[in-house]
């Protein structure tokens, strides 16, 4: 128990060392989370759009061809 509290005390510098590590982990974790979330959102939206896109794509040449009056 004393070993753990000794470790956490960091020779009296706990108030400087732990906030440093905490800030680094927090900032990098939030940046990672935002980046992942943004990527997933974009991928989901593209998948949705491409779900109905093949129809639209195939319809195009006929539109430009004989089908048009």
């Amino acid at each position: 128990m004393t070993k753990i509290s000794e470790f956490l005390d960091m020779g009296g510098y706990a108030g400087f060392i732990w906030p440093s590590y905490g800030a680094v982990i927090a900032v990098l974790a939030v940046l990672l989370w935002l980046s992942l979330r943004g990527l997933k959102a974009a991928e989901r939206e593209l998948a949705q759009l491409e779900g109905d896109a093949p129809r639209a794509r195939r319809a195009r040449p006929t539109d430009d061809g004989a089908a048009r009056p």
């Binding site: 400087f16 900032v27 990672l32 943004g38 974009a42 491409e50 639209a56 539109d63």
Partner: protein, 243 residues
Amino acid sequence: MFNYFANPRRFMKLATVLSPWLAGATIVLAAAGLYLGLFASPADYQQGETVRIMYVHVPAAWMALFCYMGLAISAAVGLIWKHPVADVAARATAPIGACFTFLALLTGSLWGKPMWGAWWVWDARLTSVLVLFFLYLGYMALNSAFDDPQRGSKASAILAMVGLVNVPIIKFSVDWWNTLHQPASIVRMDGPTIHPDMLWPLFLMIGAFTTYYLWVLMLRMRRELTETRLRARRQIQAEEAGA
């Protein structure tokens, strides 16, 4: 290779394959670095336990510079050769570099207070890194300030290239001016002056920060390239709806 990845689709494939490997490398390196840095390395004979702040402060500061050089070079390549993926890389790097710079300043402050007696001093090293932070913010603001994204990336690329002069100023600020900040102890002509017990956790953490940067860079670039395709899709749909 330079031309090979000018094709966004090809780049996307590579980025998708690389992402999980970079994630794994980051976790392994960070775990090893944190264990050695917090448990298995000795306290400094002068600075006591506060030397452990070095294992996050130095990697953050190195990455702040590394990302800026990456940003400026990618922006230049995008500006000169109209390399589409380089431009995306520059834009994706900026927020990551800004985070690293912010962390370097914050952990430096938390290290400065117990060792120097001050949270902040206006000396050359600290001030030039603060300027670097504002360069990142300025780049991001300018990049998104125009309705036409092409103009935004042109203007911000020029800013990024001009800001490159700050990089050697930061590096040599501890030699050129009187400063509280300690001089370089790893990249020196006569080799590192740090004991291996402290050098190892430091190198592992630098490795972890580097793979973290590359990992998040891949994620952000994939997002941008996906959004570009989204916009193209929407335009096709809008045209078809209008026709």
